[in-house]
């Protein structure tokens, strides 16, 4: 399977502040990749580079083997783009905007758009600017579905959506993508529900990539162990196998890619007294927080 997106040795700075160095991203055709990170971790920077709105300090991004700074119209037609906040031409109503976009894409599919619009309960003359955030997200999604692109780039689509709309958006999208073998690159800082959507996860923290792998693999190899220290004052040394350690009084949360055995061995060999040792099942959100830390 070939890569639809390929970013090689991406390095970018804002002035002297490093965003990241030598970042490599690959998105396989037909896969759904979620780029997760806290605010300021470089999600928007990456999206901007992917869309050709930012020249990286060095390195390059290719989409369908074309440099993203000089995409040909033909390739641009294959990419659906959702701007953060579902930005659209808000001075249009849903009829005008459909008419506008239809002119650009020969394979324009009106039906999925109008199917979504029917559920919206908006007036035909109502401008998009006067719609709710959720309604706007449906308009933006409908336009992308009608464009029927091969690659969808969605920048923080969950922003401002209430849970119902978010769930609706995700389910609609996943079903659509899997049925037609679409590739999706999406970012989000809300992790809830993302498990339902993505195949691969790319977790970024300031200046670095914390994890880049299939969600399933990530969720099975990344583990959380909780226990209580007998001596609350004991400070645990952060060994190499420990990815993250959170301590509140004598309550310990320990995150690792290694097995339960390694953890128990470590506790035994260092003579650390503990009780109530248990493995905790995590959601993707738990794992994200475990990996990136609460702060």
């Amino acid at each position: 399977m070939s890569n639809v997106i390929e970013c090689n040795n991406l390095t970018h700075y804002y002035g002297k502040k490093m965003v990241y160095e030598n970042l490599n991203i690959h998105v396989r055709e037909g896969s759904i990749l979620g780029l997760l990170g806290k605010n300021g971790a470089g999600k928007t920077t990456t999206i901007n580079i992917l869309n050709g709105f930012l020249q990286p300090r060095s390195g390059e991004c290719l989409i369908y083997n074309e440099n993203t700074q000089h995409l040909t119209p033909k390739t641009k037609a294959r990419i659906g783009f959702l701007i953060e906040g579902h930005v659209q031409y808000a001075f249009m109503n849903i009829h005008q905007i459909e008419k506008f976009y239809a002119g650009f894409y020969p394979n324009w599919k009106r039906e999925p758009y109008w199917e979504l619009m029917k559920k919206l309960k908006v007036l035909p003359t109502q401008k998009i600017s006067s719609m709710s955030c959720g309604q706007r997200s449906q308009v933006a999604l409908g336009l992308i579905l009608a464009q029927d692109p091969d690659l969808l780039i969605l920048d923080d689509f969950s922003m401002g959506l209430d849970p119902g709309y978010r769930r609706l958006f995700i389910d609609y999208l996943r079903e659509y993508a899997k049925a037609a073998n679409k590739t999706i690159f999406t970012t989000s800082h809300i992790i809830q529900d993302m498990e339902r959507l993505i195949d691969d996860v790319l977790i970024m923290d300031y200046n670095r990539v914390l994890a880049q792998k299939p969600v399933k693999e990530f969720m099975t190899t990344f583990k959380q162990f909780n226990f209580e220290l007998l001596n609350a004052d004991l400070e645990l040394k952060k060994e190499k196998f420990i990815v993250n350690l959170e301590k509140v009084k004598n309550q310990i949360e320990l995150y690792t890619y290694d097995s339960e055995e390694v953890v128990l061995n470590y506790l035994a060999s260092n003579g650390i007294g503990y009780t109530n040792f248990r493995k905790v099942e995590m959601t993707l959100e738990d794992a994200f927080i475990g990996l990136t830390g609460k702060y």
Binding site: G52, K74, K76, I83, Y89, M92, Y101
Partner: protein, 222 residues
């Protein structure tokens, strides 16, 4: 595809075309209502005399009208593109980015041409009705740079609105202020004769200005 772009520009501009053209025509009309009034009270001969020998400019009220219309159309067309950086949507359309910008510029320029053209023709026609060719010629030479200034400010607005770094808005604004000032330099009637064509050429060249700041936007200057 160009039809769709035209459609979008039309949605943004349709009201402003009507309003600005109507206001422009009213401005021209009011000039000549004054002329007619003064003809009645002081006599045509005196009015001609004052125009020819005393430097009276019956059209001086027209000076800033094209400038105001240029600003209105520039803002109406480019401001909605930059709210929430919506211009990204345009650059993502399957057309070359510069082609889109030039199409947008052509739409705005056509709007200005329609608005200014109708004003200009009305001005010319009514001038020729009231005045001999010498006065008409001087008046046309005098108002042409004012109309050109409307185009120049429109191009400068497209430049400034697309610019991603706010500090440069001020710098571009200063350059625009200094440059547009040239078109509005006070002068005797007909005094612009040697420079009208040069101004026209510079104005045509400036039509490309939005390409520059839009390119900076695409490159992610900040």
């Amino acid at each position: 595809m160009w039809k769709s772009i035209l459609y979008k520009e039309w949605l943004k501009l349709r009201w402003i075309i009507l309003i600005s053209t109507a206001l422009g025509i009213m401005a021209v009309g009011s000039l000549f209502l004054n002329v007619q009034h003064d003809f009645l009270f002081m006599g045509a001969m005196t009015y001609w005399y004052n125009t020819l020998f005393l430097g009276v400019q019956y059209f001086h009220l027209l000076k800033y009208v094209p400038l105001v219309i240029g600003i209105a159309i520039g803002v109406a067309q480019y401001f909605p593109e930059t709210v929430n950086k919506r211009i990204k949507l345009s650059f993502h359309l399957p057309i070359n980015e510069n082609k889109i910008l030039l199409l947008m510029m052509l739409c705005g320029t056509t709007t200005l041409l329609v608005s200014f053209g109708s004003m200009f023709l009305l001005f010319w026609g009514l001038s020729a009705h009231f005045f001999p060719q010498e006065i008409v010629y001087g008046a046309i030479v005098s108002v042409t740079p004012w109309f050109l200034s409307g185009f120049v400010i429109y191009f400068f607005i497209s430049l400034i609105v697309m610019e991603p770094v706010w500090k440069y808005w001020i710098l571009y604004g200063l350059i625009g202020y200094a440059f547009i000032g040239l078109y509005l330099e006070p002068s005797t009637t007909g005094g612009y004769e040697p420079v009208v064509l040069k101004f026209a050429l510079l104005t045509v060249l400036l039509s490309l200005s939005s390409l520059f700041s839009a390119y900076r936007f695409r490159k992610g200057e900040m």
